[in-house]
Subunit: 322 residues, 2 copies
C-alpha cells in the first residue's frame, strides 16, 4: 500500500510540474492539456468523474512504429516459416509465397482474408503458454531492419508521456489494436504502463483441452474477433462497456473508434498522429499500404480533430535518440 | 488525487483492522486469511507481485442469490413478453411457452440451445444504450418473489467483504459469469466495487450501424460468446490474459475456472460456496436445476478446496438482515 501511495504521489508531482516534455509548445499539446484540465476540474462544466475517464489508443503507428511492415507480420512470417514443413499443402498457396518473399511488397498488396487464414493455421495448435514463449523469444532477438534495434525500442516517447499524463489525471488507458492481444501483452506493461487486461485486440479462438492430465488452453486456427475498423467500437463495448472520452489513432482503421468516441455527450478528444517525418521515422499517409491515413484524415479536418505532425509537434520521437 | 489517496488510506485502515466481519471464525475464513497473508508477505516463499494478484468470481450463487431462477431469466422473460407481439411465429415455440408460464419449472428443465435462441432474438435489434436502459428500468422496479426486495439487495454481505479485503491487499477482482455482461454492468460497481471493464460474461453479437446520422452499436440475435463451464477459462484468457491465483464459485459451471486456476504454479486458492441455509437463503446442491453443485463438489473434496457452508461460515447472509 505504501509503495502504491508513493507511486501515486510521485506520478502526481512529476507530471503536473511539466507535462509532455517531448511535445513542442504548439496547438496539439495545448489542446491536449486544455482538454485534460477541463474534464478534471470539478468546477468546469466539462468535468467528468474519474470512473468515466476512459482513453483508448491504437497501437501500430500510434504508440509504436509500423513501417516497413506491421511488426506482428514480421513475427508471423517467422511462425509461418517454422510451420511450413508440416504443411506441404502450402506450396502453391499465394499468401504463403508472399509471406516467404524477402520483399514484402506483394504481401502488403494482398487482401486480408487469405492472409488471416494462413496466419491462423500457422499460429494454432499450441497451448497459449507455448505461443506466448514464441512471441517473447522473437521479441528478444528480432531487430528492426532500419534501426537495427529490438522492435520494442520503437515506441514513441511522446505517447509514453501522454499515457502517463492521462493516468496521473485519473484516466484509465486502454490499447485497442488490430493486432493480436497475445503479441502486445508481453511488453505493453513495461513500454506503456498498460496491463494485459487493458489490451483489446484481435483474437484467434482458444479452446480448453486436457493434455498430460492438465487443463490447458489451445489455440484454434480461426479468428474469433478482428479488432479493426468497425470492430474497434465493438471491442471497446465488449471489453470496457463504456464510451471513451478520448481516442488516439493514426489510420483509417481507427476512424470508427474516433467517430464513436466523439458521438457521445460532453467534451471529448480525438487525435490522429500524422507520419510526416521521414528523417526521424517515416512519412506516409493517403497512399500507404501500411497504416493508410486517408478517409480519417478528411474526417479529422472536417471535424477539427487534433492532428499531430510528428515532425513539428514532437521534439523527439524515440527514447534512444540523442 | 486527494480523494483517491483518502479512499486508499481508508480502505487500508478499515480492512486490516478486522477482515471479514460477517464470517465465522472457522476453517473457511482462516484459510482465506492465511492465503492472503502468504501471497502478500514479501518474505514468504508464496509471495505474488501485486500485478499478478488476479481473483475471479462467479456471480450467480456466488456473489448474489440465484433462486428460484437466475435473476437474469426473470428479466429475459419480461423482454420476451414485450417482444411477443412482433413475433407471431413464437406462438408454438416451446421455449416461448416455458418462459411465459407462471411456473418456471418447465423452463429450468429445457436445454439451453432453444432458450438462448429465443432470448437472443428478444434481446436484439435495439442499440446498446436502449438495452441498458431496459435493464436499469427492470432492476429499479422488479422484486424478488420471496424477499420482496430489489434483486440487487440479494448480494451476499460476506462476499462483499471478501472482495474489499482482497482489493485492500492489492488484488484486482473480476466477475466471470455465465450471465450477460450487460445485465451486471449497471449495478456491479456499487454492489461489489467491480467496474464494467472487469466484468466478463456471455455476450450477444453487436454491430456498428448508422442511425439518424450517428454511429451506434446494435445488438444482434446470436451469442458471440457463452461464458460458462469450459468457456470461463477462455473468457479469462481473452479478457485478462493472466491465470488467476484465486477463484470463487458455487456450481458445476465454475469447475473449469477453478481447475485452471489451481493448475498454475505456486500457492493458489479455490473456494466453493455451498448453499445449505434454507432459512436465511436456500438449500440446494447435487439435484438442483439452478446452480447445480455436483461434480465440482466432488472435485473440491478430492483436492481440498475451501467449501463454505453458508449456514455455518456466514454470520449474516444479506445486508438487510437484522
Amino acid at each position: 500500500m505504501k509503495v502504491l501511495l508513493a507511486a501515486l504521489l510521485f506520478a502526481a508531482a512529476c507530471c503536473q510540474a511539466q507535462p509532455l516534455p517531448s511535445w513542442s509548445d504548439g496547438e496539439a499539446k495545448a489542446r491536449i492539456v486544455t482538454f485534460v484540465q477541463a474534464v478534471t476540474d470539478e468546477k468546469s462544466r466539462d468535468y467528468v468523474a474519474a470512473a468515466d475517464r476512459v482513453a483508448v489508443f491504437d497501437n501500430d503507428g500510434t504508440l509504436w512504429a509500423e513501417q516497413p511492415v506491421y511488426f506482428q507480420l514480421a513475427f508471423m512470417a517467422e511462425q509461418i516459416k517454422a510451420a511450413a514443413s508440416s504443411h506441404p499443402e502450402w506450396k502453391d498457396n499465394k499468401a504463403f509465397k508472399a509471406f516467404m518473399a524477402p520483399d514484402k511488397s506483394e504481401l502488403m498488396k494482398m487482401s486480408h482474408k487469405p492472409l488471416l487464414a494462413l496466419v491462423g493455421v500457422a499460429n494454432s495448435g499450441m497451448t497459449v503458454e507455448a505461443y506466448d514463449k514464441t512471441i517473447r523469444d522473437w521479441l528478444a532477438t528480432a531487430r528492426h531492419p532500419r534501426f537495427n534495434r529490438p522492435y520494442t525500442d520503437l515506441v514513441y516517447k511522446p505517447m509514453q508521456e501522454l499515457l502517463a499524463y492521462l493516468r496521473a489525471n485519473g484516466f484509465k488507458t486502454f490499447i485497442v489494436s488490430g493486432g493480436s492481444v497475445e503479441f502486445m501483452r508481453p511488453w505493453a506493461e513495461v513500454a506503456y504502463g498498460i496491463p494485459p487486461e487493458q489490451i483489446i485486440g484481435s483474437q484467434q479462438e482458444v479452446k480448453l483441452e486436457t493434455r498430460d492430465g492438465k487443463p490447458v488452453l489451445v489455440r484454434g486456427p480461426k479468428f474469433a474477433f478482428v479488432d479493426d475498423g468497425p470492430g474497434k467500437p465493438v471491442g471497446i463495448y465488449r471489453s470496457i462497456g463504456k464510451r471513451p472520452i478520448a481516442a488516439f489513432g493514426n489510420s483509417d482503421g481507427d476512424l470508427q473508434m474516433l467517430q464513436v468516441t466523439m458521438a457521445g455527450e460532453g467534451r471529448r478528444l480525438a487525435l490522429l498522429v500524422h507520419h510526416d517525418d521521414a528523417e526521424r521515422e517515416y512519412a506516409y499517409d493517403r497512399k500507404s499500404r501500411v497504416g493508410r491515413l486517408d478517409e480519417a484524415w478528411d474526417e479529422a479536418k472536417a471535424r477539427n480533430w487534433v492532428v499531430v505532425s510528428m515532425k513539428n509537434d514532437w521534439t523527439r520521437v524515440f527514447a534512444f535518440e540523442k
